[in-house]
């Protein structure tokens, strides 16, 4: 009998009970005896020299325990925050890797850069005292944008990075691309900006450091998506704490979207300060600090060209991108606009030649790193906007030009010209499912009907493919990763048959406590209630790589399967012993171990009990216990893919865009929990729609001040901004190289949605001669385009 809570069941998220009733246990909820509170003194300038710091008055304020600066850290030999990925430029030179100290030493390089930390009995006292710290700044000219950074005489963010360039990298076959362009019948071109976004996790970042004088052990409790990586980076590179003396815990984490992957300076500050002051130190960001100091996402300026033959077949793609990395290199920053972006530029198309150049620059802005999708939304947006322009150039229907150029299912596995090898995918099928969902043939009728009401209607398509479950460690290592990219799992049966799973994946909204338990329940035929999922504590779990890049199920789930395989092998041995049968005669199904051809059988619970009460085990052949660990290093990326369609209406009087229909068809491989997958898609779509229509992180180009530093100016999408989505998936193309056949679903919505929405916006405005508009399509921007075009149209 199928397990009602097994694979494929829409089990409600087990963790939601505690989250929705306020019983989650987040970093800021942790309280310790004698705990102190840290508040950072941050730079109000985008770029300035620190001439001196006078904290005498601050130190004398009520409740102040300590005021610490970069000089104190330097004296304690605290290191720079390390970067986890090294890129080499076209000329073979390594990227510029300037130091990034947790507390700035001589210069500040963005508004929000930490200069000092005040530690006090209460948070309010620390804030009061932080305001009394007098920093003597000599303001320097600042660079507020990537285009300004490379604009000849721009000020230098780092003296040893000429022209503010971190690296100038490329991928692909330039000569082949040039040759294809020389013979092209048609060329489509586009210039576009993929604007900077603020991640806006619901829970702001927080960190608490503790030091136990008797054992010499440190504990960092932090809002992290990957506690082991933070332990490795902070322990080995920043604070010099050996790993066996450093515990990092990431308890309940309220959303990350990538921004909590990275090791941040505040984590090092509280851990180091806890020993300095001899008491636990806690820091929690307020929302303004989150806006200023969470690593931001996107921020590309690109030019792209697509060469086609007379029939609209793609011949070659040429892309040049300027990527803003911000003031310092965040942990994985260099990998995002390179190996997670340019490698995806083939999209779903069989374009035979691709060449991409990426120049990455420093600016006086918050560091930029992975944000949901991380490189892949930028690639999808560029390709799919360019394909729409191409359809216009050759005069083809937007679905037909896509269909004509899809990599056919039969070509799988397919080697792209930009390093990746797609294992499976049926892109035409995705489109075939999507078209009836949006009644594509009826669109022109609906458009006419809207026009009769004075509205402009548009439809937009986006197909996407992403590379998830980041790759084999050996490949990643060859590409510059300084970390492995495997995952671990331990499956521990307890004597009474319940199970604790320790996973190196980290759940901060993904629902692992439900899906991972479903996999175990299914395999061993046990109730889901008997399975507990433990994650986020380096003292409990084996070395794990955390959660990002939609990797948890594809990599962490595979490790879990490997560990379950080991448990089953061991259980089979025990069963054979108990049933006095040969191991090869034991048949296993749904957690029952049966001697073939007999009714002699044991449940996994019976076996677990025997494993821990081994009164008659042949101990030289059979160890007690039923507790196995596995590490899984993937053979390849996984390739979720899909087709998103957006239909919308624009009010030309105000420029307001209203999405009237949105259909997402996705191929995530096999699906463990449809309910959670649908939820992930919904959230992703809203984030993608947010980028297309609402969100925009604006820095003043000259001063480097953050203009959109609060929700008064930074517009988040809200429930009433989006329609009820039509979400479909198919399981015809499971991943071929992981045991669950899963591909990952966490980022897909974000990747496809922005391009679908913007293609629809441009379609709606096509009567006005619009072929492109940069995101976000704000009401004023849309209105202005219509207003400026209207006199010309009237004159025609």
């Amino acid at each position: 009998m199928a397990n009602p809570n097994g694979i494929g069941a829409s089990v409600r998220r087990r963790e939601d009970q505690r989250f929705l009733t306020g019983r989650g246990n987040y970093t800021d909820d942790f309280k310790r005896l004698n705990m102190t509170h840290a508040v950072h003194v941050r730079s109000p300038y985008a770029h300035a020299r620190i001439l001196g710091i006078d904290f005498a008055d601050a130190a004398a304020m009520p409740g102040v325990v300590a005021v610490l600066t970069g000089a104190d850290m330097e004296a304690d030999k605290v290191g720079s925050l390390p970067c986890g990925w090294q890129i080499h430029s076209k000329d073979g030179s390594p990227m510029k890797e300037p130091p990034h100290y947790p507390l700035a030493r001589d210069r500040v390089r963005y508004v929000g850069d930490a200069v000092a930390v005040v530690i006090a009995e209460t948070r309010e006292q620390a804030r009061d005292a932080a305001e009394m710290v007098v920093v003597d700044y000599e303001e320097l000219p600042a660079v507020g944008s990537s285009t300004r950074a490379i604009d000849g005489g721009a000020p230098l963010v780092h003296d040893d990075a000429p022209d503010n360039v971190c690296f100038d990298w490329h991928l692909g076959d330039k000569a082949a691309v040039d040759a294809a362009f020389a013979n092209a019948a048609h060329v489509a071109r586009i210039d576009l900006v993929n604007q900077r976004l603020v991640p806006n996790a619901m829970e702001p970042r927080a960190a608490m450091g503790e030091y136990d004088q008797s054992s010499g052990e440190y504990t960092l409790t932090t809002t992290s998506q990957n506690p082991h990586v933070t332990r490795l980076l902070m322990g080995a590179f920043v604070l010099g704490i050996p790993e066996h003396k450093l515990r990092v815990m990431a308890p309940d984490v309220g959303g990350g979207f990538g921004s909590k992957i990275f090791h941040y300076g505040e984590e090092a500050v509280v851990t180091w300060a806890a020993r300095r002051v001899g008491r636990p130190v806690k820091w929690t960001a307020d929302r303004s600090e989150s806006f200023l100091t969470d690593a931001h996402g996107r921020d590309h300026v690109s030019h792209a060209e697509l060469a086609m033959d007379a029939d609209g077949n793609f011949l070659a793609l040429r892309v040049s991108t300027l990527a803003n990395l911000g003031a310092y290199l965040s942990t994985f920053a260099p990998s995002i606009p390179t190996y997670l972006y340019a490698t995806l530029l083939a999209g779903q198309y069989k374009t035979p030649a691709i060449y991409a150049e990426v120049k990455a620059v420093f600016t006086n802005t918050s560091p930029v790193d992975a944000y949901r999708g991380a490189g892949r939304p930028e690639a999808c947006y560029l390709i799919e906007r360019l394909v729409d322009v191409a359809a216009g150039v050759v005069g083809m229907d937007k679905t037909e030009i896509r269909r004509r150029n899809f990599v056919p299912k039969e070509a799988m596995p397919y080697q792209t010209p930009v390093a990746l090898q797609y294992d499976t995918g049926d892109f035409a099928k995705n489109l075939d499912i999507a078209l009836p969902l949006v009644d594509y043939p009826g669109f022109q009728r609906r458009r006419a009907e809207s026009k009769a009401r004075g509205k402009l209607r548009g439809i937009g398509f986006a197909t996407y493919i992403e590379a998830c479950g980041i790759a084999p460690s050996n490949v990643a290592g060859a590409l510059g990763a300084r970390a492995g990219l495997y995952e671990c799992a331990e499956v521990r049966f307890h004597p009474t048959g319940s199970v604790t799973v320790f996973t190196g994946s980290h759940s901060h909204g993904q629902g692992h406590e439900t899906t991972f338990a479903q996999i175990v329940a299914e395999r061993f035929g046990i109730p889901i209630e008997n399975v507990e999922i433990v994650h986020g504590d380096t003292n409990k779990i084996p070395f794990g790589m955390g959660t990002y890049g939609s990797r948890s199920l594809a990599v962490g789930g595979s490790a879990l399967v490997k560990a379950m395989d080991k448990v089953e092998r061991k259980a089979r041995k025990i069963a054979a012993h108990m049933l006095e049968a040969a191991e090869t005669d034991i048949e296993v199904k749904d957690g029952r171990f049966t001697v073939a051809g007999t009714d002699k059988s044991l449940g996994i619970g019976d076996i677990a009990l025997q494993a821990y009460v081994p009164h008659n085990f042949p101990l030289d052949e059979l160890e007690p216990g039923l507790d196995e660990q596995a590490f899984y290093d993937p053979k390849n990326f996984t390739y979720p893919n899909g087709c998103h369609v957006c239909e919308l209406e624009i009010d030309p009087d105000t420029g307001v865009t209203t999405i009237v229909n949105f259909a997402a068809v996705d191929d995530f491989g096999n699906v463990i929990n449809p309910l959670i997958v649908e939820g992930q898609v919904h959230g992703g779509l809203v984030q993608g729609i947010g980028q297309a229509l609402y969100e925009n992180c604006v820095y003043d180009e000259e001063s480097g001040q953050l203009v959109t530093g609060s929700y008064m100016d930074y517009c988040m999408p809200r429930a009433d901004d989006v329609p009820s989505f039509t979400v479909r998936y198919h399981e015809d193309q499971p991943c071929t190289h992981n045991p669950l056949g899963v591909k990952g679903c966490g980022e897909a919505g974000t990747i496809g949605a922005a391009a679908a929405v913007m293609n629809a916006v441009v379609d709606a405005l096509s009567d006005y001669g619009v072929t492109h508009m940069d995101m976000p399509a704000t009401p004023e921007k849309v209105w202005r385009v219509i207003r400026d075009a209207t006199p010309a149209m009237a004159a025609e």
């Binding site: 804030r127 009061d128 305001e131 303004s288 009087d653 105000t654 609402y694 604006v698 203009v707 959109t708 929700y711 008064m712 100016d713 930074y714 517009c715 988040m716 704000t778 009401p779 004023e780 209105w783 202005r784 207003r787």
Partner: protein, 263 residues
């Protein structure tokens, strides 16, 4: 926030005394003041909470119109059967302020005394020929708003109530800031017999009347009557969400929508 002394007087007289303290601030629903305090952008010595003064509360029919106590929350105005019957446009304006949490806390007196250029109520005060009663005097609605965050109130003067005239027809239409949801432009149109008032909020430093619109609508109370009319963009607010000429354009669009809604 910085520390302050919290006071909760139960009479208007006690409040008037308390506000005399150095750097004291009156607290209505706190929807602007509390975020300001949390950001440490203000440092009052005393907060005088007006929430326990019976004289400041309640909605009454008066002179054919409505008298609404200063400490009446937006949600109370929005859901009041009396308001819905006498001036439905006012209830509908209140229902559109901020979000549910803001409406459950924010008060009419607090909103008009703060005189945020993008607040909704100032347009109703002007369009509905309101008078503002304070603990000292009565101020005509037309004279109440004097500039950006500025009113005719003297230091320590407390708004008691606002009296609105009952129009024959009225409606409020606004274009929200997509981020903050404040009014980028809000237009309140009210018709009293042959007289029409068109009050615009959000667009400029303070609420103003679009007199050319009023003349046109007095002659022909239809949206089409506003064709070709617009307010000057000069002097209107401009920010990353809306330039001055976009705001000027929206004033006409919202005025037309208000006229249509007024029927």
């Amino acid at each position: 926030m910085y520390a302050f002394t919290y006071q909760r007087p139960t009479s208007l007289a006690d409040a008037a005394t308390a506000i005399q303290a150095d750097e004291a601030k009156l607290l209505g629903g706190g929807q602007t003041l509390l975020p300001t305090l949390k950001q440490r952008l203000a440092r009052p010595t005393d907060l005088i909470d007006l929430g326990a003064i019976p004289d400041l509360k309640g909605i009454r029919e008066a002179d054919g119109g409505l008298e609404i106590g200063a400490f009446t929350r937006h949600a109370e105005v929005a859901h009041s059967d009396l308001v819905k019957r006498v001036i439905p446009a006012l209830a509908s304006l209140a229902e559109g302020i901020g979000d549910r949490q803001v409406r459950n806390m924010g008060t009419m007196g607090g909103s008009i005394a703060n005189a945020d250029p993008s607040a909704d109520y100032p347009s109703a005060v002007v369009a509905l020929k309101a008078t503002v009663t304070t603990d000292r005097r009565t101020i005509a609605g037309d004279d109440f708003f004097t500039g950006m965050f500025e009113t005719a109130l003297e230091p320590g003067e407390i708004v008691k109530a606002v009296r609105f005239s009952r129009p024959d027809k009225a409606a409020y239409a606004k274009f929200r800031n997509p981020a903050s949801r404040y009014a980028i432009v809000g237009v309140f149109v009210a018709r009293f017999g042959a007289e029409v008032r068109v009050a615009v909020t959000g667009a400029a430093g303070s609420v103003f009347r679009a007199t050319a619109f009023e003349t046109a609508l007095a002659a022909d109370f239809r949206a089409e009557a506003l064709n070709g009319l617009s307010v000057k963009a000069d002097g209107l607010n401009a920010d990353i969400h809306a330039s001055a000429d976009y705001r000027a354009h929206l004033v006409t669009v919202m005025a037309k929508r208000a006229v249509e809604a007024a029927g």
